[in-house]
Symmetry: C2
Amino acid sequence: MDDLHGCVLALTGGVGGAKLALGLADVLAPGQLHLLVNTSDDFEHLGLSISPDLDTALYTLAGVADTTQGWGLAGETWNTLQALERLGGDTWFRLGDRDIATHLWRTQQLAAGRSLSEVGAALAQRLGVASHIHPMTDDRVRTVVHTASHDLSFQQYFVRDRCAPAVTGFSFEGIASARFNSAVGDALRAGVFSRIVVCPSNPYVSVDPILQLPDLWQALRDSAIPVVAVSPIVAGMALKGPAAKMMSELGVPATALAVAQHYGQRYPGLLDCFVIDHSDAPLAGEIGRLGMAVAVTSTVMQQRQDKRRLARFVVREALA
Amino acid sequence: MDDLHGCVLALTGGVGGAKLALGLADVLAPGQLHLLVNTSDDFEHLGLSISPDLDTALYTLAGVADTTQGWGLAGETWNTLQALERLGGDTWFRLGDRDIATHLWRTQQLAAGRSLSEVGAALAQRLGVASHIHPMTDDRVRTVVHTASHDLSFQQYFVRDRCAPAVTGFSFEGIASARFNSAVGDALRAGVFSRIVVCPSNPYVSVDPILQLPDLWQALRDSAIPVVAVSPIVAGMALKGPAAKMMSELGVPATALAVAQHYGQRYPGLLDCFVIDHSDAPLAGEIGRLGMAVAVTSTVMQQRQDKRRLARFVVREALA
């Protein structure tokens, strides 16, 4: 970017956010992108410490993600899982053979006392990723999905039960005492970032757990860095995942406006600009009255060039 | 076996012993073979609880072992390990993708509080093995390989260092307080076994850790069940593995006689019969003077029929 000085901090969850993250990595100078990634859907499974959103960011930026399937590694094989099925083991979480290597390595490193941040930095370096992929925290935060009848862990809800249960709300175990990523905190205070981007990730289960880290919210309120969010809802549909279904179950219209209202109410004053798709242009006036600028562009990212174009828009034009 | 009543208990280590175990499983009625398997070369690697000798027995009796390579599973793939190598992880212990499923499952079950015995029984049941594969103990025993300059764990010595260091001796951490397998103990006291077979496994690192379990040695001394051992050394060479090399490093001639002397000195009165190969027939007289019967047959097991023939010999003819 010839006219963007400084680094960009992007808050992201899984696949939807990683698309914009890839665009940002493409259009920024190497090393200028810092991702702050949701870890509240991390979990322990088969004795492995699994960080789905960190791995989605890692695999996407390393160019090894399976973009057809939408998750996991390209060219993946499933021999361990098949053998585990024969043994009667849990196979609802689809772990590919190569993906298991990541989990084995992370689990071993964590057991040896390294932090999730250190492990993530080493993984990125080993896969040749120049961008910085930071877990939102090195502390343990876990999303609890509430339904009318029972609570579920996030992966039980998301993968095992395929988002079928109607949700009534979410909570984030451990968040009150979790401290947000210290390297990002240092960079924030040092004025490294010229822009903060909230990727088009799920507001409830990807972005909320990041923004509700008490000291992150404090730091962002104290900061004057422009914050731009991209709506994950386009024309009443989620770009990826269960966001629209969740909104409807929570009694909220599945619209870009409702996402803007959610951010405006939970994080007053945070967003300087809300980016919506052309198809949602009629909502611009009402979103504007929430006290944030509105920018309209094409936000659906199918091709690599779509990702780059939206990335350029978000860091250069949205607040121009 | 038309003329063998009761079950057979076979003490075994890894690949060499598993060959005879397979023959025994073939010639005995289903469920009549009980293996008591060395667990002192178990180890924790990449966060996985790995039991190499139990798995060799399991895979061999389930008919899924890689008999060409001599270890692991037939038709195995190596995608996890390749990916782990890319991450800079430890890859000296060759874990195949399907094999990893066994370790993941065992590790998860042990973490959930099940014993190694319970896990092993479940694995055998799931792989359709009618024989009983018992770990020698549910307690933690670990072989330490001593060399002139340093100590090594067994797998460091055996796999990582390819048995290159010259050994000066062995010790078995935890053995003094370990109790031998309780199900086998109950069966011994109940008179279930009509014969005990010491498979042609490594005397120092496979059989010794089993026989040196204090309460097992006590139980065998108190028992009148005939004990037959098969020499793992044939014509001065080990059938499999580093036994001959170890003997030479320990200053012992690598002969069937020296094996018989080792057993005779360490476990006086234990062996009723020592089985040697035709090529070692000249040693029969001297072995007989150690106070045990000597039986001579073909002990090299290349084909399945060799295993069955030796198994028949050991349980039927050796003490006839």
